[in-house]
């Protein structure tokens, strides 16, 4: 246990930003806080950093209660969305700043700065001002400043969101590798689920200040805890079809699927696009007819959206699959991949 958040709540005016969130990380873990904007993920990060005070609850770092500690004394480093470089200092001064504050000797600072700069490919930029750097370079400087003093935890608040998409993918990989090398527990805030899936050893999904699920990317994807997680993670997102279960069969307009998850109740069927089979010719039994609403050729696969009595079913078909819009087609839901959710409580039924 290296970082632990216990029952943390925070309210801004009448808005509950966080409601009793509890979270625990293992040593060296890469935890991503994921959620839509306004879900409280940044607030949680700022509370861990000490930039906000929680209304209740505690933050512990390696067993030490740091809830009331000043940000400067927590021994955590943070990378901000806007990088927050010091505009009046050179790159070298920016990177060396955490050591200068700690009054380390100048010779040690400059040798450390050179080491870290070399590691992040910044050695040739040390004399420049932040405003002379590109977005990717600024990002690296911010990272260098965070790692130079080997803190007990890294906090990152959407650090890649200001970069263009290609650079973002490169930096993502670099960041993951760097974090692995350093072995320092990292909390990373993002609203980008692909970033979360690729970086995290565990993902904590937040919505309206409540923790929805805290699990590995694999489990989040394959065993979503509720309707929100099911719909939020995955692109294109999971098909969610509300309906009724009677005597072992789930029914909704135009569709019936066998269901053993109780009887006489309102359930929502969830199925990933890759778990829906597609055919242009009539098949039977177990296949359902629908109209093609739109097709999207992505090169390596084709996304097909079918219209089924006012609902849509999105599926992944092999590359090169052609279907005319408004033509009749057939699909089959693979029953072994169906997720069931209680329509009222939204909780998954297992």
């Amino acid at each position: 246990m290296s970082l632990r958040v216990e029952n943390v709540s925070k309210r801004f005016g009448t808005h509950d930003a966080l409601r009793g969130v509890t979270l625990e990380t293992l040593d060296g873990e890469f935890v991503v806080l994921l959620g839509p904007s306004g879900c409280g993920k940044s607030t949680l990060l700022r509370i861990i950093a000490g930039l906000e005070e929680p209304d209740q609850g505690a933050v512990r770092l390696r067993g030490r209660d740091i809830t009331a500690l000043d940000p400067s004394r927590r021994d955590v480093a943070m990378v901000f969305q806007g990088y927050a470089l010091y505009p009046h200092m050179t790159v070298a001064q920016n990177i060396g700043y955490p050591l200068r504050v700690r009054r380390r000797p100048a010779s040690e600072i400059s040798s450390e700065v050179e080491k870290v700069a070399a590691r992040l490919g910044l050695a040739h930029l040390l004399r420049k001002q932040p405003k002379q750097l590109s977005g990717g370079e600024r990002q690296r400087v911010a990272l260098a400043r965070a790692i130079i003093r080997r803190p007990q935890a890294f906090l990152m608040d959407e650090p890649l969101s200001n970069l263009d998409s290609r650079l973002r993918i490169d930096m993502r990989a670099e960041l993951k590798h760097l974090q692995h090398e350093l072995g320092v527990v990292t909390l990373y805030v993002t609203h980008d689920q692909v970033e979360a899936m690729t970086l995290a050893s565990r993902i904590a999904i937040l919505k309206d200040g409540l923790l929805q699920q805290y699990a590995t990317p694999h489990e989040i994807y394959h065993r979503p805890a509720n309707l929100f997680v099911a719909g939020f993670v995955g692109s294109p997102s999971m098909n969610l079809l509300p309906g009724q279960v009677e005597s072992g069969v789930f029914r909704r307009a135009g569709l019936s699927v066998e269901c053993s998850a109780g009887t006489n109740r309102e359930l929502t069927l969830g199925i990933r696009p890759e778990d829906v089979e597609f055919s242009l010719t009539e098949q039977a039994p177990g296949w359902t007819a629908a109209r093609v609403w739109v097709t999207e050729d992505l090169g390596n696969e084709t996304l097909i959206r079918l219209s089924l009595d006012g609902a849509f079913v999105t599926l992944r078909a092999p590359a090169g699959t052609r279907a005319e819009i408004d033509s009749l087609a057939w699909f089959r839901i693979r029953p072994e991949h169906v997720h069931w959710f209680d329509s009222q409580t939204t909780v998954a039924i297992r």
């Binding site: 400067s72 004394r73 943070m78 901000f80 010091y86 505009p87 700043y97 955490p98």
Partner: protein, 272 residues
């Protein structure tokens, strides 16, 4: 055509602004007879430096000049040193409700009171602490005069800085005071320079308090000194004008040196 009109308007405005200065300078260079020639001698007169020699020969003028320099620099520095932390606190700390704005407005409202209203209490208070006729007393008064302005201006400049930069410094291990001194101070320098110029000009030109609170030569400032050329028997126009010209110079030098910051500082505050 439009440009011609524009330049004509600008020239007229400039002539209007500079005419008194021109008048002041010419009078300071004219003999008493030329000063009152009618019609006025605009250009054709024999210049004389007699009035300048006169004021510099008179010991007290140097004294006044030095006093003014001490009072305005010290009061400006103190007002900045006190005002910046106050502005920072108002801009950044958590205040219940709308207190930050309330306090700021109250601070500014002190400037709305006509100074003459406070002059008797000021006189009595300074007499009580034995600061009448001292430079320290005048510095104190000028600080009080300038402080609201410093707080008000600097609050805007601090609020314009991205909060993230300060938060980054705190997480890097910096204390609040360290953030103020090593991060905020260097970043608000243009605003600070603009504010300093304003304060210096106010303190340099301050007449009312200086007149009432310093009645001995040792603590008199330049404006009071210049006014003392209006005597019971005559008005020494030449000496007064020469002293006026000399009094303009330091402000002119300082303002032009800080001009780069000045314009930037003003517009920075305005964009917000």
């Amino acid at each position: 055509m439009k440009t011609i009109l524009k330049y004509t308007a600008a020239l007229l405005a400039m002539a209007f602004a500079l005419a008194p200065i021109y008048w002041l300078i010419t009078i300071s260079l004219k003999t008493e007879i030329d000063q009152f020639a009618s019609p006025p001698l605009w250009f054709h007169f024999t210049p004389t430096l007699r009035h300048y020699e006169g004021i510099f020969a008179h010991d007290a003028f140097g004294r006044y000049f030095l006093n003014s320099l001490i009072v305005s620099t010290c009061s400006t520095l103190i007002a900045l040193a006190l005002g910046l932390p106050a502005a920072y606190g108002l801009a950044r700390f958590h205040w219940p409700g709308d207190w930050a704005n309330g306090i700021s407005f109250w601070i500014l409202s002190n400037r709305m009171l006509p100074p003459i209203v406070t002059i008797i209490p000021m006189f009595l208070m300074l007499r009580e602490v034995r600061l009448l006729n001292t430079l320290a007393g005048l510095i104190l008064v000028d600080v009080a005069l300038n402080l609201p302005f410093v707080v008000w201006m600097m609050r805007g400049f601090v609020e314009d800085l991205p909060r993230e930069i300060e938060e980054a410094a705190m997480l890097d291990g910096e204390s609040r005071l360290g953030v103020l001194l090593r991060i905020v101070l260097p970043l608000v320098r243009p605003g600070l320079a603009a504010t300093a110029v304003f304060c210096l000009i106010v303190a340099w030109n301050e007449f009312l308090f200086a007149l009432i609170l310093s009645q001995t030569e040792s603590a008199m400032t330049l404006p009071v000194g210049i006014a003392s050329h209006v005597t019971q028997y005559e008005i020494q126009w030449g000496a007064m004008s020469a002293a006026g010209v000399v009094a303009i110079l330091p402000v002119l030098i300082f303002a032009s040196a800080a001009q780069r910051y000045f314009v930037r500082g003003l517009s920075l505050g305005a964009i917000k």
